[in-house]
Symmetry: D3
Subunit: 124 residues, 6 copies
């Protein structure tokens, strides 16, 4: 039996951040009906579950991009640092990826990224 | 004997893109003295040669970030797609990373990134 | 008699956010003489009062752009959400526009935008 | 019978840009399997078909955001200008929205946006 | 007699890029009535003519910002490089400012900026 | 005897922000070995000490770029406002440069930049 993208996304999130859909739904669905379902389907069911690249590398690439994009994505960078640790990425690998972004996104972006990593470490 | 950052950067570039420093120097050093040397030292000698993360993952993370940052980094995205292939990253892995960026940088950034990959494939 | 751009801008602001010019002037004019007058003339007298598009659609387009541009424009996004409500845009329309930006500016931008809307609702 | 998001997205695209899924599939699916289907589901089936905001305003908001985001989204801006005209938005409304973005995204973004509109007019 | 912002802007442009308002008007005013007048008033009459900073430093700061913002502002970067040369800034100063942006906007932005300078030199 | 880039960078920082390398090292080097040394070498030893442009103009250009880039660079904007004051730039010059960025980076970026200047003034 083939799972839909939504079902695959839910299965992925269950392993990494159970309760994420409920949290999103409680916060946003009264504003945007189906927002939570739609996000799980798209981000997880259509991306992280894809074949061709392991999930640890996917998470590191997400952390790289969110670091380079800069402060607008600060909250999501912290969530994805936590998600990365949850799937087995090490603090060392995260620090290396973030620092490398100083070449491409500039020094401010990299320093803000390291601060996000320090914040997540302090919270855990 | 310890190598300086500049020497380490030169050794790294020699394996991946020999002639890069000369190309940069011919094009830019009359405008910005030492630009080529400075770029090799910083980007390669201070980043790609670091321990703690393999160079293939580093390249994928760079491709992720340049895709998410968008068109301003188009030429560099193509150079880094070529560098990624040169160190053993596959077209498949590149395509997966680029497409994943639609979640974080938006659909236009991801589509432009896929177009850059198609361009590099066509040129090779 | 023809009004100048500055006079038209002042008339527009009087209906939507009376006291805005004074607030800006008190805060910024000692640093940048004429900053408040200049902002009213440019943003309102040269843009919002223009013909060819109703002010509600103008406000929704501004909210769309500020959402997609991301966190740097957080304070201005909240001000423009409030301005939108003041000219008759509904919460529903605002939520729909903000969520649509997940396609173009990425998921983090859209989620930050929804949070801004929730903040404005909580403040009112 | 309830349509899935993918089915709703396909129905919407059929009216506005028939052949879009095939074009995307031919160009990208060998790199990223299911890319075309996934894009139609997400961008159109999960966004443009939503209730709460008419499609003309949705298109104008997209044009606003793509203008403000700037050059990286140049090709998509032109596509969305064409989509806007296809659903009944006028050139005048497009010009007004694009110009307004000079306040939020800066003058270069607005001028590039007007140039994109001129290009689309010349092509049609 | 006090000049209006528009009159001051026109006087400034007359020295640096005569014909600019007419060029803008011919290209854009049929789309956006008064666009040219409005741009001259805002960018030149409200900014470049201000006291407190000499025009050469203003131009260098504009070049710095357009470089850091990246490709979206490519055409405007080239225009401002030409404007900078017209008010006495040297090629050397421009090259130094552009290269410095590699620290803040990342290496791709700086290299694109140097390429813009080379293009302007080749055109002159 | 020729100084290395690292030595030149350290000499520059000693005059403007003594203790910066230690602060960075204490905070980041356990995550990213040699981060502090590498930043001093690159940002100061390879940029601010260069010939061809005085350090006050370099600082103003940095403030311009960080303002235009927007909120992601907020902390670094404040640091560079303080560095600018430390090398003799005036509050007036800073305010003028920041406000000018409303033309290129949009109004939100300029207002956030003025707020950063007000914050630094309040802290000193």
């Amino acid at each position: 039996m083939t799972l839909t993208a939504l079902e695959k996304g839910r299965a992925h999130v269950a392993k990494m951040n159970p309760g994420l859909e409920e949290t999103l739904s409680d916060r946003y669905d009264h504003l945007v009906p189906d927002m939570a379902e739609s996000l799980i389907e798209w981000a997880y069911g259509r991306h992280y579950v894809r074949k061709g690249l392991d999930v640890k590398t996917r998470q590191l690439c997400t952390v790289a991009a969110l670091t380079a994009l800069g402060g607008q994505t600060g909250p999501q960078l912290k969530i994805n640092i936590a998600h990365s640790l949850a799937v087995g990425v090490t603090d060392k690998e995260l620090a290396e990826v973030i620092w490398q972004m100083s070449v491409y996104g500039g020094m401010p972006a990299a320093i803000n990224g390291l601060n996000a990593l320090l914040d997540v470490q302090a919270e855990q």
